[in-house]
């Protein structure tokens, strides 16, 4: 039985299976996977390359549909939404942070952060105010007019996080957020994510290879050959 109705459970992945078809070959990436994430948790998802971490993150973020099973976020069956409704749902509920920041090089930091707000009915002034709040949260108010190429990797990732939280989403999904940064910049990003979780109660799921990063999370789960375990498999 699904536990999505249980008090405090924000993410309920129930019996999920994901199969990719490559020509005549079927590749099963996730097998009968169950995962529950309570609201306000900072969950680290670890596992070797090809274990299905990003696939699972994509399913939770509504970027892909499971082959079997259900994904329920905040009581809503995400796997049953059409592409059009999924897009609107993502805009409302999900903030993404990517390993390579994925900022639009032709826009300033401020404009990059504003992107998700363009999908809302906020006025220009309201959007500006939200962007300033997000910039302040990531400590980059003085870099608002800079283009990504004028920012360091750590600063770009902070802009990426600001873009992820500017709409105050239900869930923040981070795919290797420190994977492209040196230790110092990585620590700053992890501090920021931890602060968002602890001080603002933001629910975060973070995919990482780095035990140093996962140590900052309140819980770590391991994915191996498409299934979750509590301990890393050797």
């Amino acid at each position: 039985m699904s536990e999505s109705g249980a008090v405090g459970v924000l993410v309920d992945v129930n019996g999920v299976e994901k199969v990719f078809h490559r020509g005549s070959e079927d590749i099963q990436v996730l097998k009968d996977l169950h995962l529950q994430v309570p609201a306000g948790e900072f969950l680290a998802l670890m596992g070797p390359s090809g274990s299905g971490k990003s696939t699972l993150l994509n399913l939770i973020g509504g970027l892909d549909h499971p082959t079997r099973g259900s994904v329920t976020i905040a009581g809503e069956r995400v796997d049953q939404l059409t592409d059009h409704r999924l897009a609107a749902w993502r805009a409302r509920h999900i903030g993404f942070v990517f390993q390579l920041y994925n900022l639009l090089p032709v826009l300033t930091a401020e404009r990059n952060i504003e992107l998700p707000l363009l999908l809302t009915h906020l006025s220009r002034a309201e959007r500006k105010s939200h962007v300033e709040t997000a910039l302040e949260a990531v400590g980059l108010l003085n870099r608002a007019q800079h283009y990504p190429r004028q920012l360091s990797g750590g600063e770009q990732q902070r802009v990426g996080i600001a873009r992820g939280i500017v709409t105050d989403p239900t869930l923040l999904l981070c795919d290797e957020p420190t994977g492209d940064l040196d230790r110092k910049a990585g620590d700053e990003i992890l501090n920021l994510l931890q602060a968002l979780n602890r001080e603002h109660g933001k629910t975060i799921i973070m995919v990482t290879h780095d035990p140093h990063a996962s140590a900052r999370a309140s819980r770590t789960v391991y994915l191996n050959k498409g299934q979750l375990t509590r301990e890393p498999q050797v």
Binding site: L63, D83, H84, R90, F98, V106, L107, P116, L119
Partner: protein, 384 residues
Amino acid sequence: MKYMHLVWGNLRRKKTRTVLTLLSIVVAFVLFGFLSAIRQALTGGVSLEGANRLIVRHKVSIIQMLPIDYKRRMEKIPGVAAATHQTWFGGIYQDPKNFFMQNPVIPGEFLDMHPEMILPAAARQAWLQTRTGAVVGRKTAERFGWKVGDKVPIQSTIWAKKDGSFLWEFDIVGIYDGRDKNTDTTPLFFRYDYFDEARRAGTGSVGWYTIRVLDTSKAAAVANLVDAEFENSSAETKTEAEGAFVQAWAKQIGDIAFITASILGAVFFTILLVTGNTISQSVRERTGELGVLKAIGFTNGQVLGLVLAESCVLSVLGGVVGLGVAWLLTSRGDPTGGLLPLFFFPAGDLAAGLAISVALGLVTGFFPAMQAMRLRVADSLRRI
């Protein structure tokens, strides 16, 4: 409008490529403007105000003459309000390249037939009283610096005088203006009676007749009656609308509309490929970014709209600049020095050019936009 900075940003991504594409669109629309002006010059003009006028010419060819007494017989045909005539003089002023038309006419009835030519009353009176008098259009007067009172020598290539000379002299008694832009103000008109008496050959003949019909809806029937009147005579006639007559002149060069349409078709087809390629390349280069937009909540329709907006902005910008340049260049008037007196960029064609620029944007953006719309988010993010 709130997405405009995103559209601009993407166009500025590869500035050189965008500028080169933009320039090719600009050149295409400048060409469009020029060809429109040339087509207008060769096929437009008097056809617009001559809806109630018919031209009667020799059935065999325009260079065959008609007898002067046809006028009296035409005026008796039911439906004909008035008739007057002109004759091709084919004169040269100083240099063969100084081309403009000069025709002998009967002043009073000619001016009554052509109300689009505005001539001051005093000049009309002077013309009626001066046997060697001529009136000239504003364009030609300004071109050669002629003013009322000047004596103008013109060498005919067709008509010799009784003394064997081909040199004719006229006294400028008036300068006429056009009622609107479509009125040709390059020709010179002089008196037929002076011409007919002074010429060595062809006395009593005219080039063609212009008749005004009482009811434009019955013009075709009147044309048939006129041709029937002179059937089986030594000079059978062919009667047609004034516009068709002017176009028949232009068709001596070729089917102008077909030629301009063919050139423009080839130009716009090339531009379609160039712009389409630019937008396609631009979409391919940022597959990952489009994936990010979709990940943060942009719908397929919004991504489609963004790409279409890019291609439309590029093409409309190029179109507006190109049409503007064409407008400026053509507003300087006839570039041939007299061969194309009605050379201007018609407002209707300008509007059509703007519509074409929008259509160009939509067509060139369609396939790249569809490609962007169909991108699967997870796949495109993997390609980063």
